[in-house]
Structure formats: C-alpha cells, structure tokens
Symmetry: C2
Subunit: 201 residues, 2 copies
C-alpha cells in the first residue's frame, strides 16, 4: 500500500484510467446506450477482454470510484472524533457526497445515470453493498458480535438518504430531514440504554 509501485502496476493503473476516461468521454458525447463496449475498447486502444479485466461490467465504467464512496462511508464511522455519536458523522459525510454528486462538474454524469435504467439499477445495487459494509462497520464499532437487524436497517436508511437527497430539489434540506428520521429510528431501535445525545454511539 505504501511501497512505491513498480512500473507494471503503474502501467496497469494507467490503462485502467485511460479506459475509464475514454468510456466516460464517449458516453457523455454520444449517450450511454449509443456506445458499445467494442467502441470503448477500440478508442482506448485495448482489447475488449482487457476492458472486462479492469471493470466487471459496462455500468462499472461509469461508477469508477465505487469503492471510494464505500470507504468514505465506513471511515466516517471508524475515523470520527472520539465520543462523537456516529450518526452526525454519517450525516456530514452523506451531505458532502451528495454535494459532490450535484456539483456542476459531476452533474452531466448524473443526468446520464438518471436517463439510463441500467445505470440506475446498478447504482442502487451499489448502494446496497455500501449499506452492508456500513452495517458491518457500525456493528463492529458498537462491539457487537454480528450485524443486527437494527444495524442493517439503519445502514439501509442511510443509503436511502443518499439516494433521496441526490434527487431532491434541495439536497441539503433533504439530507437533514431524512437524518432526523434516522436518528429517531435509531433511538427507538437500540436497547443500549443511552439516548442518542450521549456518548456510546
């Protein structure tokens, strides 16, 4: 992770990035559906199979930073200030992520996503993966042996918050609104004794 990467890994990363950039450019130019994998491969000057060795599917070309988002959610919990409840930390992170999505530079991408059923579906399944990771992280943070139903529900609610806010007219307000609901839900769920305003979670 911290060792200097060799030429091989640099080349691999470069190829991956070239493919992703090419794909995104073509998608935005001609439309997602109008561009085939063969087009992307030709334009990036690689073989079709090489595309699929770097990306699991055509949709994954668009959500290139998938894992970054997942890590951000998990780290918002694990790396938060000591004694801070995790929900406010999550709220901040979700708000930042939504802001990033609705920013001017990313807006064309998300307009494309909204226009394509396949991409929307992929986005949702991605979000579910993130929610599962978040549930695991929260359960671990609480010292639970396994991810309880309450943890998983809360994590899904957070994912829902992201999805709803991204589409809302006023994303910031939507995040706050849904997170108020989530905080109440979490308070109602936990048999952990302490109310949400105090330490422990």
């Amino acid at each position: 992770m911290t060792v200097p990467p060799g030429r091989r890994e640099r080349k691999k990363a470069a190829t991956r990035q070239r493919i992703a950039d090419t794909a995104l450019r073509l998608f935005l130019d001609r439309g997602y559906d109008a561009v085939g994998i063969r087009d992307v491969a030709a334009e990036a000057d690689v073989a079709v199979t090489t595309v699929f060795s770097h990306f699991a599917s055509k949709e994954a070309l668009v959500f290139e930073q998938d894992e970054d988002f997942e890590q951000r959610l998990v780290r918002a919990v694990t790396d938060r200030a000591p004694h801070e409840p995790f929900l406010p930390a999550l709220r901040r992170e979700v708000r930042a992520m939504v802001r990033h999505c609705t920013g001017d530079d990313a807006a064309p991408i998300w307009r494309m996503v909204d226009a394509s059923p396949a991409l929307r579906q992929y986005e949702e399944s991605m979000r579910l993966r993130h929610a599962e990771s978040l549930a695991v992280a929260v359960a671990a943070d609480l010292g639970l042996a396994r991810t309880t139903t309450a943890c998983r529900a809360m994590a899904r609610f957070v994912a829902d918050a992201h999805a709803l806010a991204r589409e809302a007219d006023d994303p910031d307000t939507a995040v706050d609104e849904v997170f108020r609901m989530i905080e109440a839900a979490w308070d109602a769920a936990r048999p952990f004794g302490a109310p949400s305003g105090t330490a422990g979670s």
Copy 2:
C-alpha cells in the same frame, strides 16, 4: 376490470401463465442460470419473442406476481380501517408478505433468488418501484399535493423492512423491530401535529 373477458384475453392470459409456469418449473429443475430463454420458449411451445411480449426480461419470469405485491402494499394503505394509522396496517401487510415468502411452498423459489445475483438485483429494483408507489399512495392519503421527501423515505424504509425480514432468522421479530424504527422515524418527520397514536395518519 369487472366485465367478462373475451376469448382473446383469456387466451392471452393462458399463454402468459403457461410461459410462467413452464419457466418456473425449468428453473427449479435445472437451475436459473442453466435454463435459457430459448429453452423456456421451446418447452412452452411459443416463440422467443412471444416470451418477451409477456415478460420484460428473464428475471420477470420469476417475479411473475410483481404487480400483486405492489397492489397489496398500496391497498394496505388505501383500504385500511377508518381512522387507523397507516403504519400498523402496513406492518401487518409486510408481515403477511414475508410469511408468504418464507413459507414452505415458496421457499425453493426464494432459495433460487438468493443464489442468483441477477435475480437479487431485480428484486431490489422491484422493491424500489413498490416503494415509489407506496409513497404516492401515502402522500395522497395524507392529502398532500406531492410526494414529500418524508413520504418517500418512509416508503423506502418499509421496503427495506421487507428485504431485511425476508433474510432474517426470525422474520416476524425482524418486521416488528424495523417497524418500531419506522414509526419513530415517521413521528420525527411529520410537522403534522398529531402524534402517531392518534387519528390522521
């Protein structure tokens, strides 16, 4: 809807049912991935295109009663007893739906679904559609002009409840647990004045 259906419509429904039954039988026999659309079409004695004129995708063959489930959710709200809050009604309905999924006769189907990523993804996107319909129904029930963020969040939470409970060790308890969270979330969301125990919602 209530007029006696003509021969044409009966034939169409019969063909649809024959295709669905054949598909499900083959899927359970040989496995979802091992059965192709061409196999289903041949066994049901129809053309491949006919299959796709009745079902939008291969996955839709498995979730044949998709719209039934959607209607049940919506009707749980619209047809509930007067003055009853809608959340308890929804909870009953979700509990019944989960019971039906985990029943002995339906169990093989859901085992197949759990084994196939494609089917799981389809199930989730189906659930999102149901959630949207539910959000619209609830907004209408509350006399709102449009589906607010709170309504949509709550509807997604209900969908999450279904998803989580279906996979939980103890489905009934899981439904109760998540619905306790949802009731608290809803109470926190609404600026409607009345608490959840009273009339109005």
